[in-house]
């Protein structure tokens, strides 16, 4: 048995039946990380020694006949923008290279309560700004399917680590596609929850009205389980909603008969790679054969929703990143004499080029004389985009779309920042409207690289998209047919 290939629900069964000990599982992951990290570079901080010690304690509990909870001893990886008490949280930035959070993010508290064991903190684009993880100031994460290509971003370390079996599952965050796009490029399952479903307390803010934490997993069942662990109202995040907490695994019915799926034709127009398009068309046929009703609709928003997204996210980023001044925490420049010098030099030396670019863009669109033309317009466009989605959801349960216009691309292959931004064209509208979206693999292209399908639901309809994703997964079984080959 290859332990690191098992899903979390399989690991749970093996622990319960005493076929595996927690120590054996954690040791297997520790060995796997030792073997693969040099190729993948997924981790900013590795915590396997600590994990092995924790595993031993849980095994002692089991041996003493004590009951353990369902998730006790299950390993996990965490994107390095979620605060972990006593452990570095770098956001893959020089600015926070040595930052040790004095508290746990709410999602981390939830995982700790359930007894999960962290294997480490995972690489990302600096401050979650990027679509390839190339903007990390720490290291370049590689895609396990082809080491010459990017894993996507910004949760590239999380998606690559799951795909490479270096962690059984991971948490990512998604502001404009940062869970779904790397999940798509790495052939794993990634869900961005409805805005307000998961607490953002302790998530280092990029764009507060768009950010959500979500699960990146090997399969849909695991995804529903990890979602169960992180949802819920948190008084520390006033945007988190106080709603009944369903068990998302109960929604996985393996049945889509009568499910109404909308396919927006504008998402399949120019700019979508033909091989990606072909795989998605196969997926639509599969859904039809499973009894779903798949129909083309018009949802003409993709062009201005990308503009809307970059205006709003950069505006919010310019404000959120104002806190990094070199005074109380974070990087402080040694150059300069005055307080003003500290502000300017710490920020100029501590932030990478993309972060500075977005701060400048955000400051520009908020500045006097441009606010109405850009920011106010974008806030109005946001209403329009939400309304357009509402119209589709009046008649349909799910929207089916590509996650990314292409499969994973090579390092340094985007000629300008704008070209990189276009990688997010199909994912950003979901954040702008605050909807849930899941990316699941739906095959590979001719070069063997995974293609992702995005299923978008109405607000707080995670159960609907999880069931749609699960039913497709059960009928196609991507994981049994395709595995990353670590091609060099």
């Amino acid at each position: 048995m290859n332990i690191t290939e098992l899903t979390v629900h399989e690991l749970q069964e093996k622990i319960a039946s005493k076929e595996l000990t927690v120590s054996e599982i954690v040791k297997a992951y520790s060995d796997r990380i030792d073997e693969k990290e040099k190729d993948i570079n997924a981790f900013v901080t590795i915590l396997t020694d600590d994990a092995i010690a924790k595993a031993k304690k849980i095994d002692e509990k089991i041996n003493n006949g004590q009951a353990i909870s369902g998730f006790e001893g299950i390993p996990i990886g965490i994107k390095d923008n979620m605060c972990t008490k006593g452990i570095k949280t770098t956001c893959s930035s020089k600015m926070l290279e040595n930052f040790v959070a004095p508290y746990d993010a709410t999602v981390i508290e939830n995982l700790n309560k359930e007894g999960l064991i962290s294997l480490g903190k995972l690489n990302m684009d600096e401050f979650a700004m990027g679509s390839s993880t190339e903007n990390s100031a720490i290291k370049k994460t590689r895609n396990p399917w082809n080491l010459n290509t990017v894993p996507g971003g910004s949760s590239g370390g999380s998606a690559a680590a799951v795909a490479a079996n270096m962690v059984p599952w991971a948490l990512g965050s998604d502001t404009g596609g940062s869970i779904r796009q790397p999940a798509s490029l790495c052939g794993v399952v990634g869900l961005k929850p409805t805005y307000g479903l998961v607490s953002r307390y302790g998530l280092v803010a990029y764009a507060s009205s768009l950010d959500q934490i979500g699960p990146i997993t090997k399969d849909v069942y695991d995804n529903a389980m990890l979602l169960n662990l992180i949802t819920g109202h948190d008084p520390k995040d006033s945007t988190s909603m106080d709603l009944p907490k369903p068990d998302y695994t109960k929604a996985l019915k393996n049945d889509v008969k009568g499910l109404k799926i909308a396919v927006p034709k504008e998402f399949f127009a120019e700019g979508l790679n033909p091989e990606v398009k072909a795989k998605l068309e196969e997926a639509m046929d599969k859904y039809r054969s499973l009894g779903a009703i798949v129909e083309e609709v018009s949802l003409d928003i993709s062009e201005y929703s990308l503009a809307t997204y970059y205006i709003i996210s950069c505006a919010e980023a310019s404000s959120n990143l104002g806190r990094f001044d070199g005074i109380r925490y974070g990087y402080r420049s040694e150059n300069g004499e005055t307080l003003r010098d500290i502000y300017f030099n710490s920020r100029s030396e501590g932030f990478g080029p993309e972060v500075k670019r977005r701060i400048i863009l955000g400051t520009y669109v908020l500045s006097s004389g441009y606010y109405d033309a850009y920011y106010k317009k974008a806030q109005q466009a946001r209403t329009l985009i939400t309304n357009e989605f509402d119209k589709v959801f009046k008649d349909y349960d799910v929207i089916l779309a590509p996650t990314s216009p292409t499969v994973a691309f090579e390092f340094n292959s985007k000629s300008s920042p704008l070209e990189m931004y276009l990688a997010d064209i199909y994912t950003v509208p979901v954040n702008v409207a605050g909807l849930p979206g899941i990316s699941i693999p739906c095959g590979v292209d001719k070069s063997g690289m995974p293609v992702g399908m995005q299923l978008i639901g109405n607000k707080f309809q995670e159960e609907t998209i999880l069931n749609a994703a699960y039913t497709y997964e059960q009928a196609t079984n991507f994981r049994a047919n395709f595995k990353p080959e670590f091609k060099k």
Binding site: Y103, Y310, I342, K377, A381, L384
Partner: protein
């Protein structure tokens, strides 16, 4: 969209960022390209629509204003770039 060098330097100053000579040209080019793209937002038919200020309709969330003590001063100060006597140390502000 034409952004002048002076405008860029003004914005950089507001953002508390120093730009090196080679960064200025680069950012000017990027900013122009991105802002030209961002103007697509003007093609959105938004007349009469209100502004969305958050992704859900929850406009205000009220709670009791209760003080919760955070006692782990050591954990806070270990991140201080410079500290003395349990306080953050900065250069002299008043001459």
């Amino acid at each position: 969209m034409q952004v002048s060098r002076e405008q860029l330097l003004h914005i950089a100053n507001l953002s508390r960022l120093n730009l090196k000579e080679e960064e200025i040209d680069n950012y000017l080019e990027n900013l122009q390209e991105i802002l030209t793209f961002a103007e697509k937002v003007n093609s959105a038919p938004v007349d009469g629509l209100g502004e969305t200020i958050g992704a859900n309709n929850k406009y205000n969330a009220f709670r009791k204003d209760e003080v919760v003590a955070f006692d782990d001063i050591e954990a806070l100060l270990q991140n201080a770039p410079s500290e003395e006597f349990g306080m953050f140390k900065i250069p002299k502000v008043i001459q």
